[in-house]
């Protein structure tokens, strides 16, 4: 506020900055949901459980994606 001269974007340790981190976060989320949703769907077809497998897989994938983001971009 009081004329802070170093008004630059924060520089994170792992080389990504700003938009790069955003894309990483979205990438992990989408990858998690797609991968585990797909595996859940395969489980579905094998065990004939209707849509439950894909649903559970998606949720597990979303949780795992959030975990990865917290690990990678969270407080060191």
């Amino acid at each position: 506020m009081a004329g802070d001269p170093s008004a630059q974007p924060p520089d994170p340790g792992d080389g990504l900055a700003g938009a790069g981190q955003g894309w990483l976060a979205v990438g992990y989320l989408i990858s998690g949901i797609v991968v585990w949703g797909f595996i859940g769907r395969l489980v579905d077809q094998w065990f004939e459980t209707g849509g439950a497998g894909a649903g559970i897989g998606s949720v597990v994938g979303a949780a795992a994606g959030v975990y990865l983001i917290a690990r990678r971009l969270g407080a060191a």
């Binding site: 792992d14 795992a64 990865l68």
Partner: protein, 270 residues
């Protein structure tokens, strides 16, 4: 190409020389015909534009660097500023000292993308080769092979994949996380690199088409909509400026993401 239509009634219809189709279709506006009748269907305006971009870049950098001097001339200074920007701000800041050997490739990539993206707003050309998915795909594949190759060279084949695929996490969660890392690093990265560039260029061209041709369509519909046509064309001008911004931004983002992936491959941690 037809001239203004005349149909016996004083309807005041105006038609542009090429009989505009509204709404603009993908076939007609993006899949351009071959330039030589009957043969070489691949030799279209797009092909010529890519060759033109390559030729212009080669000629420009050769010309700018004839007889280089210690105190640079204006043309030498411009070329050096361009190279310096990519080398220092992109390769140097992101990757560090070992990134400097990628600076020539990144500069070439950045200049080529900048030029082909700007083709989308240069009068007379008005289409970017990157609005065909093929060209972004090839560039993304090159970046993909680059960062994997660099990682394997640095760490060794198995060690690189171990470093890339195993995040720091307790061992019992790793089986859940590994497919995600695999998908996110080796599938999502190249696909989004190509898709981001293609979608921006395709959508930009489409938007300009819609507003330009929409103006003509409204003019031809009723005389009442003529002022709205003018608004449509003013918006086209504003959107052309936006397209210029997006062209530069997309070239920058492509190169900076490639540099960041190379940096991730070279990283020692995990």
């Amino acid at each position: 190409m037809r001239g203004p239509t005349t149909d016996g009634l004083a309807s005041g219809r105006v038609s542009a020389a090429q009989e505009p189709h509204f709404p603009p279709e993908v076939e007609e506006n993006f899949f351009l015909p071959g330039l030589v009748e009957g043969s070489f269907p691949w030799l279209t305006k797009i092909t010529l534009l890519v060759w033109l971009a390559v030729g212009l870049l080669i000629v420009y950098f050769l010309w700018a660097y004839r007889r280089p001097q210690l105190v640079p001339t204006k043309r030498q200074w411009m070329a050096e500023s361009l190279y310096g920007f990519v080398r220092n701000r992109m390769a140097g800041d992101l990757i560090g000292h070992e990134g400097l050997r990628f600076a020539p490739y990144f500069t070439t990539l950045f200049c080529f993308l900048l030029l082909t993206n700007l083709f989308s707003i240069i009068p007379g050309i008005q289409i970017s080769p990157n609005s065909h998915i093929a060209f972004p795909i090839v560039l993304a594949v090159i970046s993909y092979v680059l960062f994997i190759w660099v990682g394997v060279r640095r760490h060794g084949f198995l060690a690189y994949f171990k470093q890339a695929l195993l995040p720091p996490a307790p061992w019992f969660i790793l089986p859940i996380l590994m497919p995600i890392e695999l998908f996110s690093t080796f599938i999502v990265r190249p696909v989004t690199l190509a898709l981001r560039l293609f979608a921006n260029m395709f959508a930009g061209h489409m938007i300009l088409l819609v507003f330009t041709l929409g103006g003509f369509a409204m003019l031809n519909a009723t005389a009442l909509l003529a002022p709205v046509s003018v608004v449509s064309w003013l918006l086209t001008i504003a959107l052309t400026l936006l397209e210029a911004l997006i062209a530069v931004l997309q070239a920058y983002i492509f190169v900076i993401l490639t540099a960041s992936y190379v940096q991730g491959a070279l990283a020692e941690e995990h």
